[in-house]
């Protein structure tokens, strides 16, 4: 069977339409192994291992290349997560529903729209400043609201507690 396959190698190559690229070379190696008398299972195992190794190598290179996102680039960047979402989720724990509805959500929406407008205009530095400003403003809004509420409670409590009132 092997001699027969060896004789038919050029014919098989033409029939399988193998090119000189990496895929074609891999297939040719498979064909050579088949004609050299290796067991079919071993061949498949070797091919699978090689493909898996290539995939892992490709993935590790891709991971290394992905580290470029930490470096400053001049081109457009992909926005993976809209800024401020995590902070808003955290702040929702600390403030009332009314404050969330009236202050935090609309403020966040407006800051996001402004942020996207700046990114669209290519003003990335200004967008980064706005992002920082958004975090500060959101925290300030919640803290000031809570502080005012506490002071109000304290003051009204003291006024009510006075004996002449």
């Amino acid at each position: 069977m092997n001699d027969e396959l060896a004789n038919r190698k050029p014919e098989l190559k033409r029939a399988l339409n193998l090119t000189d690229g990496p895929d074609g070379k891999a297939s040719m190696r498979f064909l050579h192994g088949l004609t050299d008398g290796l067991a079919e299972d071993d061949l498949y195992r070797a091919t699978t291992c090689r493909q898996r190794h290539q995939t892992w190598a490709r993935r590790s290179v891709a991971t290394l290349l992905d580290m470029r996102k930490w470096l400053p680039r001049s081109g457009a960047q992909l926005v993976e997560r809209a800024p401020g979402f995590r902070l808003v989720e955290v702040l929702k724990f600390f403030c009332r529903r009314k404050t969330t509805e009236l202050v935090i959500e609309p403020m966040h929406a407006d800051f996001l729209l402004e942020y996207y407008a700046l990114l669209g205009a290519g003003r990335r530095r200004k967008a980064a400043v706005l992002q920082a400003q958004m975090h500060v403003c959101l925290v300030y809004a919640v803290v000031s609201e809570r502080m005012l509420q506490m002071l109000g409670t304290l003051f009204t409590g003291r006024v009510k507690a006075r004996p002449d009132k």
Binding site: A82, T99, L102, V103, P106, M107, D110
Partner: protein, 112 residues
């Protein structure tokens, strides 16, 4: 549409307006409905994006403005559109009239 009902204006909040609140009222008087960012852009630096919603929520508590959530399917975070109430419009007119009288009397005193 979740439209908020304005609360009654109590005695101690009557004519109690800050400079920023007056700026917001003047903007809302000119336009029908506005959102915070629009007001900041039109105020020419008088209002800041970080404090506009605190002012607006305070004004809503006082009953000078009313708001509703803008339901746009494409926007994830909903915006809030603000509109002046009758009480707010009345207060603004009273304030501007009082300001005019004050200025005219001041000018008259200066001329004498």
């Amino acid at each position: 549409m979740s439209e908020r009902q304005p609360t009654d204006i109590s005695e101690d909040t009557r004519m109690n307006l800050s400079k920023n609140e007056l700026a917001v009222l003047s903007l809302l008087m000119g336009a029908g409905e506005m959102y915070g960012l629009e007001m900041v852009k039109q105020s020419e630096g008088k209002l800041k994006l970080g404090t506009i919603y605190l002012i607006l929520s305070r004004m809503e508590e006082k009953g000078y403005a009313t708001s509703r959530r803008a339901l746009e399917p494409a926007v994830v975070v909903p915006r809030r559109l603000y509109r002046i109430t009758g009480a707010g419009a009345k207060l603004y007119r009273a304030w501007t009239a009082a300001e005019e009288v004050f200025n005219s009397r001041l000018c008259g005193a200066q001329n004498e």
